[in-house]
Amino acid sequence: MIQVQNLTHRYGDRVALANVNFEVKKGEIFGLLGPNGGGKSTLFRILSTMMVPTEGRTMIAGYDVTQNPAEVRRHVGVVFQTQSLDKALTVEENLRSQGHLHGLSGATLRERMARAMERLGIADRRKDLVETLSGGLRRRVEIAKALLHRPQVLLMDEASTGLDPAARRDLSRHVEDLRDHEGVTILLTTHILEEADRCDRLALLHQGKIVAHGSPGELRSRIGGDVVVLETGDTQSLAGRIEQRFHVQPNVVDGHLRVEIPNGHRFITEVVEAFPGSIESVGLHKPTLEDVFVRETGASIE
């Protein structure tokens, strides 16, 4: 449904995207995960036809984003990071106005509005001014607005920014509902791990490059086993000694040592016994997407 080929974008000398390639299949939720400034926003602007890339080709629903932006806009719904609702208008007025922009009117528009509001659970707030709605509800109105013209693809830029965890989970449920019941293909950008974990597939974006892609499960399984995090006074020397003795390469992240190792619980007892006194605390967890990101880039997402 979406094909991105050899996409490169420069702002003057600064390279924002460096030869990015990926594909999004019909009916999946695809996430672009990465830290702010990693190139997500640039990529999103190109996908949403708001910017022309320096090089490369992007196809959405069979149309070239650069060659034929008008056709792409007919098949894509966009939810921007910044609020795009008019706060002085009601939910219904916002939706009607958006429908008109897409050339919809009369009974068709009324029926589409009713369905979108029903799907996003905002039908009972239709007469309310947007400024009286909570952040979570506003995001749902944004999505309803983006769906009025029945796009095949929904693009969402950091849609859960500023939402509390409950509202975020609620939003994710609505997005999954769209995939399951409306057959919409969804591409979203995020820097929130929990949100990324709910995607069908992911691409990890760092400094304008895709450093890894696959399902969250596949990505996590790249790390063989467990992740052990050690807190110590002298990271460098302990890292050297661990490498010598256990033949693993620890990463130093945020002043802690991270070790990827199978049977982490056994490693913990061994490492604590081997270097008594030099370890202040020990943690063990199953690999997360953050760990995958650290493994691929040496940097953390947050």
Binding site: Y11, T49, M51, R73, Q83, S84, E93, S97, H100, G103
Partner: protein, 246 residues
Amino acid sequence: MSSFFLPAATLWQRELIRFWRQKSRVMGVVASPLVFWLLIGYGSNDLARFYAGSLVLTVMFSAIFSTISIIEDRREGFLLSMLVSPAPRTSLVLGKILGAATLAWIQGLIFLAFAPLAGVSIGLLDILPVAGAIFLISFTLTGLGFVIAWKMNSTSGFHAIMNLLLVPMWMVSGSLFPMATAHGWVKAIMWINPLTYSIALLTHVLRLPNAFPGALESLIVTAAFGLVLLLASGVMAGQKATRSAA
């Protein structure tokens, strides 16, 4: 056809709804030129002389106020959601300008209610040309506001331009002193200032003294200026971005 007019109509309607819901805006826009006019008019014992200029100032304030919302729309994201719709950019521009011009026009008409104070009586037959002239001026000034606001990232930048360009432009347009009494280079500026023709047009239709240049020239220049600004707005909004759009 409907894919051109429907988007324009919906943006026009949006301006009106927003306006209706913030009625305090009317007060702000009409009140300051009114106070200004009454002070300077009573003080110099010549309310009639400053009437046309003050009405145009009302229209100008309203047009500026409405076009500033383009910058807010950009910051908020409303503009983005319009731009990713398949609606033609020219139709979006037309809707926005017509909407803002209508508001400026309404506020100009409110100011018109004070005409008897200036000794101006408007007969039934005069209403149409007067209302028409005020609309044309509203449209032109809104177009000017649009062209300035489109590339701006901050409202404070807009205020700077207003103080440095728009208010001085208004001052040397015949609103404060007639062209006949102007000196040297100021007179030259008045000749090339499009607002001079707007003020003259209004002075003509209100049958006030010191109407100069002539009625036909004033109408042509004002209309041509409005058209040029509309085209410029359309071209600016139609440009493709290679940098950040927001």
